[in-house]
Each structure stands twice: as C-alpha cells, then as structure tokens.
C-alpha cells in the first residue's frame, strides 16, 4: 500500500508527516534542525529517500542538509554559494545599484533523473546547481548575467529566486521565477535565459510591456502538459499556453486575485488551486475565511472550497512554497499556514482536515507519494 510523506519547512525547524494511503492518521516527526529556518525540504523524484533541505539562520547563515534514508538521518553538505566572477550590482529599492549578496536558499529542485543533481534558487536571485549530491555548488551564471540583471530589484521579501520547474519532457528546458524580476526560461539547460513576461500587467510598472520587474509569486505546471503554465502573480492569476511566451489573465470570479501559491491537480491538468489573500498589505484571507479556490476549467471559473477550513476569524497567510499535491488516485491537496497548521484534503479539495495545528509558521510543504 502506498504511503504519503509530507515534508514541512517552518520558521523554527522541519517536520516530516507520514500516513498510509488513507491519509487519516498521521505520524509527526520533528522538529528537525530545531530553531533554524527551514525554507524548503524536497525529495528526489528518482530516489525518494534522498532528501535535501535548506537550513538557514540570521546568526549562522546557510546550511544544506541531505538525507539518504527518507529523513531518518541527515548530514550537512556544502554550504558555499559563491557568485560566479565579479558579482556586480542590481537595482535597490531606492533605484541605486546594490552589490549582489548571497543571503539564503529559498528553493531546492532535485533533478527528475539524477538524485545527485539539484538546482537551488537563492536570494539575491541566482540559480546554483550541484551534480555531486550537494558536495559542491556552482552558479549557473547565465541567468544573473542576463542583460536585464542590473535592473532586477527586490520585492518586499527580498530578491529571491523561488520557483524552479523542470520540463519533464525536456530537461534542458527550465522555468524559473524571481520576485520581483519576473519569469525566465532556458532551453539549453541553464546556459542562456529569456524573460517570459509578455502579457503580465503590474500597476506599479508604468510600462505595460515591461520585459522584467514583475513580482511573480509562483508558477505551476502539470507534467503531462509542460507548455501550459499557471502563475500566481502579486496581483492576478495568469495562464500561458505557449510555455510562457505569452500570458493572459484567468482570475475570473476570484474574490481577490492576490495570493502566493498555485498548484495543479495530479491527474486533472485543468484543475488548479489558489488561496486568495486580501491584498498586498493585509496578508490574510478576505473576511477572515480561509478558502482554497479551485478551477476545473484552467482558470476564470473558480469555486470556493471551505469544508473543514476555518470560516471566521482566520488571519493566517499561505506562502508561495507551502502548497503541494500527492499522486494517489484520489488526489490529495496540502497546504501550510503562517499560523502553523498543515491542512490536507484527500478528495481534490472538497473536504479538509488539519494534520497538525500548532507548528511554527510554515514556509514550505512538499509531498512524496511512496510505493
């Protein structure tokens, strides 16, 4: 029988939640790396017991941990993220140029084919890669050296590279997103990159055709249709049917189109999920009601999913890396909140239950479906 393992990164440690395929009773292990900010924990698709974790701290900087046994034991691997060559500068909040400075790893994306290869999205925005299981990291500097690099500027949360999507049909094609530079695509495994932001509109950018500067919060795709991308932007939920060459808005009847995560159902490529947040300064659900919105039409037509979620006095946020789906026949949807709850639905979002309620603020959620 299958089992499900949920990897939860929080502001004060990591947690591993496990259940059988019924997903009714959950074991909770943790906190691992107690006291550290665990930005992201993710497993290799080809070796699910190989896990990588981004561990960081304002005091002690960045660590990367690796497990070879599904999280039972961990070993620190290389934590040296050094920009290639002379780092140069990017745009600062006041419009001046500011030196590129490594701060933390936001996102770890293991290769779809090689458990020793992992991509790391970091702040200040850059992409790194290991090909030796984390023993060394090297910048893929073609991204940061894109001619728009000096114009990239941080969002309120920093200049973070937070989304990495590998095309399962062509591993040379990778999509990434940076707050607040926008989305980029490589067709050659990361040597050269192209901004893919046509059609995005951001009220704080005077030029409606701006090539970069968009605060993309998250991109998702279904593995069966890697040319179809779904985006939760700062404001607006967007869709592309041509691998990012152009985007159109699919916010439709959402109560607000601000939010952070977006994800796709495991078996229905047109079924997508967002968590609307009131606005850019009030990072909580509108009306104090925590509602996941589901579209079964790839956007535009949305329904509120509320059963089992708090419908009064709820003022938590759901961060961009804190939603994931499992691969079981009845697709499970999971998300974590800044209030420390991890909610799960075993029926595509119709009904929700809190697996845990009182963790530290949840930064990331990943799900592994194990045979």
């Amino acid at each position: 029988m299958s089992t499900v393992r949920v990897l939860v990164g929080t502001k004060k440690g990591a947690f591993v939640l496990t259940s059988d395929a019924m997903r009714m009773k959950w074991g909770v292990e943790g906190p691992l790396f107690a006291g550290w900010e665990m930005y992201h924990v993710k497993g290799s698709p080809v070796d699910p017991d190989r896990l990588y974790a981004s561990q960081c701290s304002g005091w002690f900087g960045q660590m990367i941990q690796r497990s070879n046994d599904g999280g039972k034991s961990w070993e620190p691997v290389d934590n040296k993220f050094v920009y290639d060559g002379i780092p140069g500068t990017h745009q600062w909040f006041d419009g001046t140029q500011h030196p590129w400075e490594f701060k933390r790893v936001w996102h770890l994306e293991p290769s779809l084919t090689d458990p020793d290869m992992v991509y790391a999205g970091v702040e200040d925005a850059a992409m790194f890669r290991t090909t030796d299981g984390g023993a060394s990291w090297h910048e893929m500097s073609g991204l940061r050296n894109h001619n728009t690099g000096p114009q990239w500027s941080p969002g309120a949360g920093g200049l973070g590279l937070h989304t990495i999507l590998i095309d399962p049909t062509n591993p040379q094609r990778i999509f990434i997103a940076i707050s607040a530079a926008g989305a980029f695509r490589t067709e050659d495994g990361g040597t050269t990159w192209k901004p893919i932001n046509k059609g995005l509109r951001s009220q704080y950018i005077p030029d409606p055709d701006a090539e970069i500067g968009h605060c993309v919060h998250r991109i998702a795709l279904h593995p069966s249709r890697p040319n179809v991308l779904f985006m939760q932007k700062h404001w607006d939920v967007m869709r592309s049917d041509d691998a990012g060459d152009s985007w159109h808005e699919v916010s439709g009847n959402l109560p607000t189109d601000f939010g952070f995560p977006i994800d796709v159902h495991a078996h229905e490529p047109e079924t997508i999920y967002v968590v609307p947040i009131k606005n850019d300064s009030e990072h909580f659900p509108p009306e104090g009601k925590l509602r996941v919105y589901r579209s079964r039409t790839g956007g535009n037509e949305w329904e509120a999913l509320t059963k089992g979620l708090p419908q009064s006095d709820c003022y938590v946020n759901v961060l961009r890396d804190a939603m994931a789906v499992d691969q079981l026949d009845s697709c499970g949807i999971y998300f974590g909140t800044t209030g420390g709850q991890v909610y799960a639905s075993t029926d595509s979002g119709d009904n929700w239950t809190a697996i845990v309620r009182d963790l530290p603020a949840v930064l990331s959620v990943e799900v592994q479906t194990l045979a």
Partner: protein, 98 residues
C-alpha cells in the same frame, strides 16, 4: 591549547559538547584560531565568517577576557589568558531574531 566556546547551534553542527580545544600555531589571533577551528570542523565554514571575505557574520560576536573583540583586527594578538588557555574565546550569538 586554545579553548573556544561556541553557541549551541554550532556545537550541534560540529557534533561537539562543551568547549572545543585547539592546537593553534602562533601568532594566536582571531584569524588563526578561526582558521584552525574551521579546518578541524569544516561544517562550521560560512557559519561564523563569510566564505569569501572571512568577515564576521553580523549577528555573531567575539569575546575575550570580558572584552568585546568583534571589531578588532582579525590579526591582532589575542590576550595572554586566551593564549595560555586560562580563558576561552567566546563566540556568541547576538540578541537578535525572533
């Protein structure tokens, strides 16, 4: 023997309990002590000083003989009680964070 007292999180990373004792070649300075510490516990590289610049991380402080050495030159000779091992060099996490 040079004694170094690390914050709890760094002791966990280095898998040590209590103070660390190091054989450090003279001159005994912050730089030579930290170089020796990182050579013996490579996991600590980047956690106390930046990998490249070797600059002290902002929220860590160095104390020697009840004095704050955080802003001293890394090549300044440490006080005699540190050199003799009578006193430990303290690496302290600043009051910060949440």
């Amino acid at each position: 023997m040079i004694r170094v007292e690390l914050p709890a999180h760094l002791r966990t990373l280095a898998r040590v309990e209590g103070e660390v004792e190091l054989d450090v070649e003279a001159p005994i300075t912050l730089r030579s002590v930290l170089d020796t510490l990182e050579a013996r516990y490579p996991v600590l590289r980047g956690t106390i000083r930046d990998h490249v610049t070797l600059k002290r991380r902002d929220f860590l402080r160095f104390f020697a003989c009840q004095e704050d050495w955080s802003h001293e030159s890394p090549d300044a000779p440490l006080p005699e009680p540190i050199v003799s091992g009578a006193e430990p060099l303290l690496v302290v996490g600043a009051i910060a964070g949440g």
